[in-house]
């Protein structure tokens, strides 16, 4: 009974923190329709800035005033940074497709990660206890940290303040109006740019405040950003995108679930939140308090004409590249061969995601689930049944395809951000299983000893195997895209209305495409596993999904050459940059930002255009 009460209160305190961050995210989305991946970075910046302010002179010497002033100053500074990011970057891409905005905000994540590392170093920071709120209070005979009680109050207070802002100030009323009908607000003479900058400032300040308030509670680390953004996404989506009360409710739900889940089912705590999200989205596709977006769907990018047979120069270049890939490797050293085999797997991984995103017109934030499914299929067979590589490579696409078939049934029903979030949720569920089902998967220690069969153990032989399988996979994807199935997939993307009117069952086509892409990702995952000789949960974590997303978007979704170029460019860039400098994330982020701002069609497009002009 006592533990229950303590857990309930702990859950409430966590809910407050989570709500602060999620409220900023949901407010920004409501007005700008941008899913801001960088929101977690602003949270982290808030924490680091607050640490610097309160633990150094002059604020550190001012006692209570200094501490609380430092917290608020940090939040304010983060708000200004958010406004600056909006003005410099996001303002230029409001008309770009949704995924490009996402790419830009993800580039910001990378940039901030390295900047934080550069400015504050890699070690964890510990802030001072909060003045006046040290120690614990007794409630019904239970000792309870005072700071947590304070946090419990902060959530509703901020909700109340936000309510006042949105209902009692002109700025807030304009924001609410813009959330409903941006165009009408403009027709009434309101300049949206100011509104957007304002909302980014507000949202980022809330994230910063959330981060700063964590200071007395836990260590400030350079991994805070990804941890919080995923949770905030869950809260925002469960609550309903754009809904503040929804975010509050969802934050409570998720936090309490987590607090009690630890007592009852400690093994599945990581899955729990995502399971809830999946259930909510299946039952209420727009979240607990969310409403179906009204009006016409946002203008989609003008459909690109289908890439016919590749232009002759590209065919020539492809042939030359293939010849080089076949003929040169015998003269290469061990390390380049390892890299090449990795690249091959990544190319197939990206190409499989392209099927979903390009011809399919869907988004997946969780494609790593299928890459990982393939990898684990191979590894589990090797570990528990002693199966050889050949068996693993055959089983991988079937297992990954099956997982894709199962998850896809849910994901392809929804569209846009909601569908993307559901893919993320399922990928996190898969990741949690790999991470927490230690007996079977080895948990964080992974599965070692997943080696290729004797004949393929040499680096050169394994490279040829990778090239053959990935080449085969990409070729099969290409056949499928140009076959009636791929045409039907494009048809339902181009015009759902027309597709339905000529008898195309869009759901079935999308579902099968999802499963097919999953199977191909599975092959890539298995190869990757055999190449490394091991599998870890990181093979299906969010960064891996984001890798795939970046590779496809960098290359461009318009033709299959896009993800191939994108995979090579991204993986190559990452590899080169990480060898050149410790700040490779910063550089990569800047490169991605430059690409988004200057080549919104992706690398392949820019290539074609240059040649075509």
């Amino acid at each position: 009974m006592e533990t229950l009460a303590v857990q309930a209160l702990t859950g409430l305190a966590s809910a407050s923190s989570l709500f602060l961050v999620a409220s900023g995210l949901t407010v920004i989305f409501g007005v700008s329709r941008i899913v801001n991946f960088a929101h977690g970075s602003f949270y982290m910046l808030g924490a680091f800035l607050a640490w610097t302010l309160v633990s150094h002179a002059p604020l550190a010497e001012w006692g209570g005033w200094g501490f609380w002033g430092g917290i608020l100053l940090a939040a304010l500074a983060v708000g200004l940074l958010g406004a600056a990011a909006e003005m410099v970057i996001l303002r230029r891409i409001y008309r770009a497709p949704e995924l490009f905005q996402l790419l830009a905000t993800f580039a910001l994540v990378l940039v901030v990660q390295d900047l934080v590392l550069l400015l504050w170093g890699a070690d964890d920071k510990f802030g001072p206890r909060a003045p006046l709120l040290r120690g614990a209070t007794e409630i019904f005979g239970l000792r309870f940290p005072r700071y947590d009680l304070f946090l419990i109050a902060v959530g509703p207070v901020v909700l109340g303040l936000l309510w006042l802002l949105f209902h009692r100030t002109r700025f807030g009323i304009l924001l609410r109006a813009a959330t409903q009908d941006r165009e009408m607000v403009a027709a009434l003479g309101v300049d949206q740019q100011l509104l957007f900058t304002g909302v980014f400032c507000l949202g980022s300040a809330l994230a910063g405040l959330g981060g700063a308030l964590q200071l007395p509670r836990e260590a400030v680390t350079i991994h805070m950003d990804m941890a919080i953004i995923v949770q905030a996404f869950v809260v925002v989506v469960v609550g309903g995108l754009g809904s503040l009360p929804g975010a509050f409710l969802a934050a409570l739900l998720i936090s309490e679930l987590h607090a009690f889940g630890i007592l009852v089912l400690p093994r599945i705590t990581l899955v729990l939140a995502f399971l809830v999200m999946a259930i909510v989205l299946v039952l209420r596709p727009y979240g607990l308090l969310g409403r179906k977006p009204e009006g016409p769907p946002p203008a989609t990018e003008a459909a690109a004409p289908l890439p016919g047979p590749a232009p002759r120069w590209l065919q020539g270049a492809g042939m030359a590249a293939l010849a080089a890939l076949l003929l040169l490797p015998p003269f290469l050293g061990e390390y380049p061969l390892i890299l090449l085999a990795d690249f091959a797997a990544l190319v197939l991984f990206a190409a499989s995601l392209h099927l979903i995103m390009g011809p399919g017109g869907m988004a997946s934030f969780g494609h790593a689930a299928y890459f990982g499914a393939g990898a684990y299929a191979a590894a589990l067979l090797a570990r528990h049944l002693g199966a050889p590589m050949e068996v693993g490579l055959v089983a991988a696409p079937f297992f990954a395809g099956l997982v894709g078939f199962l998850f896809g049934w849910f994901c392809v029903r929804l569209s846009g951000v909601y569908s993307a979030m559901l893919t993320l949720a399922f990928a996190q569920i898969a990741w949690s299983v790999a991470f927490q089902w230690v007996e079977v998967t080895g948990g964080d220690n992974g599965i070692l000893g997943v080696w290729p069969s004797e004949w393929a153990r040499g680096r050169l032989a394994f490279w040829y195997l990778s090239l053959a399988l990935c080449g085969l996979g990409v070729w099969m994807l290409r056949r499928a895209i140009h076959a009636p199935f791929g045409m039907a997939l494009r048809a339902q993307r181009d015009s759902p209305l027309r597709a339905e009117a000529i008898g195309i069952d869009a759901f079935r086509i999308r579902w099968l495409a999802f499963a097919l892409a999953a199977a191909m990702a599975g092959v890539a995952g298995a190869l990757f596993a055999y190449g490394k000789g091991s599998v870890f949960p990181s093979s299906l974590d969010i960064p891996r999904s984001v890798d795939a997303l970046l590779m496809v978007l960098l290359g461009g979704v318009h033709s299959l050459s896009g993800p191939i170029l994108g995979a090579v460019a991204y993986a190559g860039l990452q590899e080169q940059l990480s060898r050149l400098t410790d700040l490779w994330r910063l550089l990569l982020g800047l490169v991605i930002l430059a690409l988004v701002l200057f080549f919104p069609g992706g690398l392949a497009r820019a290539f074609y255009r240059r040649r075509g002009a």
Binding site: A302, A303, A304, P305, L306, R479, A480, H482, A483, P484, F485, G486, M487, A488, R490, A491, R493, D494, S495, L497, R498, A499, E500, A501, I502, G503, I504, D505, I509, L512
Partner: protein, 249 residues
């Protein structure tokens, strides 16, 4: 003779307002029937129930005697109903020929083909359909760059791909220059008559309606207020009043 299409007592409400309030109609084989009415009369709602896009709150829709109420559009298409849209809906990333080919592939139930390239399939049939609407010269063009009138013709070709017995055309001449309208409708009427296809269309260009419809239905505030030959409807006092508006009713 069994009507091609028959609707009885269709009702659809939005937020308690009856947009369509007990509409019944029947369409004979080969007949061209125009559905007209002022703004907000319920034409689109009515039309979208017939084509399966909306589910009626009450009423029955039969296609050749077979109940198709609450069937999705794709199922209705498989029963031989072709459609064109008010704002053209075509596959913008494909060529004209591929658009038509897509409809033919679906009709032939080959959509799950994963291997044989689509460009080697049904080309002759697709070209024949394009020839029927006078578009063969444009077969290789991306449909993203077509003139609007040609897009409308392309839609017609796609609608004919399943050898329909009924065409549902929502505002077939909307968005076209007045001079083009007559030509498009004359072509449509010619094709429909030659193949014995019944046509139900909504339209607000009265010249088009009176030149091509065999029969006209007039909707106002969700109800049918007149029905008959074009000449009779044209002089109907109730219809004239509805079109000219009246502050007292």
């Amino acid at each position: 003779m069994t009507p091609v299409l028959q609707a009885e007592g269709l009702v659809k409400s939005w937020d308690g307002n009856r947009a369509v309030d007990g509409v019944s109609l029947a369409l004979a084989p080969g007949e061209m029937l125009a559905l007209i009415g002022p703004n907000g009369a319920g034409k689109s709602t009515c039309f979208n129930m017939l084509n399966g896009q909306l589910r009626p709150d009450a009423g029955i829709i039969r296609l050749g005697g077979r109940d198709i109420t609450r069937r999705p559009p794709r199922a209705i298409w498989r029963l031989g109903v072709g459609r064109t849209f008010q704002v053209t809906a075509t596959f913008g990333s494909m060529t004209v020929l591929d658009n038509v080919r897509m409809a033919l592939l679906s009709h032939a139930r080959r959509l799950l083909g994963l291997w044989r390239p689509a460009r080697h399939q049904l080309t002759g049939e697709a070209e024949a359909l394009l020839a029927r609407v006078g578009m063969q010269a444009q077969a290789g063009r991306p449909c993203g760059i077509l003139a609007y009138g040609d897009l409308k013709r392309l839609e017609l070709a796609m609608a004919l791909a399943n050898q329909p017995r009924l065409l549902l055309m929502d505002e077939p001449t909307a968005g076209m220059a007045p001079a083009e309208r007559g030509a498009l409708m004359a072509q449509t009427a010619g094709i429909a008559r030659a193949a014995g296809i019944a046509v139900l269309f909504t339209e607000h260009d009265m010249d088009v309606v009176f030149a091509h419809a065999d029969r006209v239905l007039v909707l106002d505030r969700g109800r049918l207020i007149a029905e008959g030959a074009p000449e009779a409807v044209r002089v109907d006092p109730l219809v004239r009043q509805v079109y000219l508006g009246g502050m007292t009713g």
